[in-house]
């Protein structure tokens, strides 16, 4: 582009010096000029796409930054708390027709209940004390055994007080009311899980 303009200036200068050219005829500045009347309207086509790319790149970068800013704003906002379904009573269960109609408690009944609760309190206390006593006795018995073992051999004692890594985690199914029925074939059925899963 720069080369084209220099040459046009040079040619114009040259043409003004030469006397044999007619004065009224416009000159072509460069062979890039397609018509004699225009000047620098149809420039080399190669230059224009370069300009477009730069502007586009800038626009795209600006857009990306705007998106990033929006994302950051959203992330900064505190995450929505997941509702605990168990604590929300559905409204249909607080209707008045749902309230149970029972006869009021007689004084004898409330008296009986209070006495039963006191008996229960005592029962549980005795049970707990018995458990603690039993555990204490177990521990004492074990300490005695370890003492005797130490008297025998230090090496065996050290092996005995070492922690057993394979013991925990210890898992065991608890007792049921009736023992398992041998050869029982449970009925076929499909369990469809409808729990709602919330994502933050």
């Amino acid at each position: 582009r720069i080369g084209g303009s220099v040459s046009s200036h040079a040619l114009c200068y040259f043409s003004s010096r030469s006397s044999w050219l007619p004065q009224g005829v416009p000159l072509r500045g460069s062979h890039w000029q397609s018509s004699l009347l225009e000047f620098r309207t149809s420039l080399p086509v190669r230059a224009q796409p370069k300009k477009k790319k730069k502007v586009d790149v800038k626009k795209e970068q600006a857009q990306k930054e705007r998106m990033k800013k929006r994302l950051k704003k959203l992330e900064k906002a505190a995450p929505e708390l997941i509702p605990i379904e168990d604590f929300i009573t559905p409204l249909k269960y607080s209707e008045s027709n749902r309230v149970r109609s029972l006869p009021p408690l007689s004084p004898e009944e409330s008296e009986r209940r209070v006495l039963l609760l006191k008996k229960w309190c005592l029962f549980k206390q005795k049970q707990d004390e018995a458990e603690k006593k039993a555990i204490k006795a177990l521990v004492e018995c074990q300490q005695e055994a370890l003492k005797e073992l130490r008297l025998e051999s230090e090496e065996l004692y050290q092996a005995a007080i070492r922690r057993d890594e394979a013991l925990f985690p210890f898992q065991r199914d608890g007792p049921t009311y009736t023992p398992p029925l041998p050869g029982y074939d449970p009925p076929e059925g499909k369990c469809i899980d409808i729990t709602k899963v919330y994502t933050q």
Binding site: R98, R100, A134, C141, E144, E152, A160, L167, Y177, P179
Partner: protein
């Protein structure tokens, strides 16, 4: 130290427990309390959908009886009553027969069976020869240098029940000890008596069909131990058993 002679011989014994499979029966206070808790829960509750349906159907029946016009039949619809559903469920429940809590082994008092006394702990007792006597004991083996006492106890268990026994030993430490001096006839300076260290394990496999090889064995509860064990030994064993 390995070189010095030990005056006490060491044994490792294993107390193998089969844990309860069913719940123990409730005490009187526990039953009363359970009934009270259920009553209070009922009083504090609201009607469920099923109960509301039942109440509405009762009212409908009453209205049907008073007015002889039956709306539902007029519409040509058969209604399934909640009462009928409840009866159906009850019938289905009665058809199911659970396994009995008191098994045949209980009734016949077969003490070699593992299916007895499903609500309490059962312990393994074997008949072993000590000196010139055959005694009922928890399975024991003599300690050999190079192994820990726990592995002695496990070896004892394996000799009587086979290698494939699945038992969880509760830790490396012994639970109890029984020591006794040999009768004067065989007592020497280097051989005063024996110390038996007890270890506890929970039986995990319920199937022992391929086991129980050699000696006589029994599975007994803590209360029945007195029938088989000698008094001093029994006293020491009872100390580390919970029940």
């Amino acid at each position: 130290s390995a070189a010095a002679p030990r005056p006490w011989r060491l044994f490792g014994a294993m107390c193998l427990l089969r844990l309860p499979r069913i719940t123990q029966p409730l005490e009187k206070e526990e039953e009363e309390m359970a009934a009270l808790m259920e009553q209070i829960e009922l009083e504090k509750s609201h009607y469920s959908d099923h109960e509301i349906r039942k109440l509405e159907e009762e009212e409908q029946l009453k209205r049907k009886k008073e007015s002889l016009y039956d709306e539902d039949e007029a519409r040509g619809k058969t209604v399934v009553m909640a009462r009928d559903l409840e009866e159906k469920w009850e019938q289905k429940f009665l058809q199911f027969k659970a396994a009995p809590r008191i098994t045949d082994a209980d009734k016949s008092n077969d003490r070699t069976s593992l299916n007895r006394k499903l609500d309490s702990n059962l312990m393994l007792l074997v008949k072993q020869k000590i000196g010139n006597q055959e005694l009922w004991l928890l399975p024991q083996a003599e300690w050999q240098p190079g192994e820990t006492l726990r592995s002695t106890a496990e070896r004892a268990m394996a000799t009587f029940l086979g290698d494939h026994i699945q038992a969880k030993v509760l830790g490396n430490a012994p639970f109890g000890i029984y020591k006794y001096k040999f009768p004067r006839a065989i007592r020497t300076e280097n051989n005063v008596g024996a110390k038996i260290f007890f270890f506890k394990a929970f039986l995990q496999s319920s199937d022992l069909s391929e086991a129980e090889l050699k000696a006589d064995y029994l599975w007994v509860t803590k209360k029945e131990l007195g029938d088989y064990l000698k008094s001093e030994y029994l006293k020491k064993v009872n100390r580390f058993l919970l029940d």
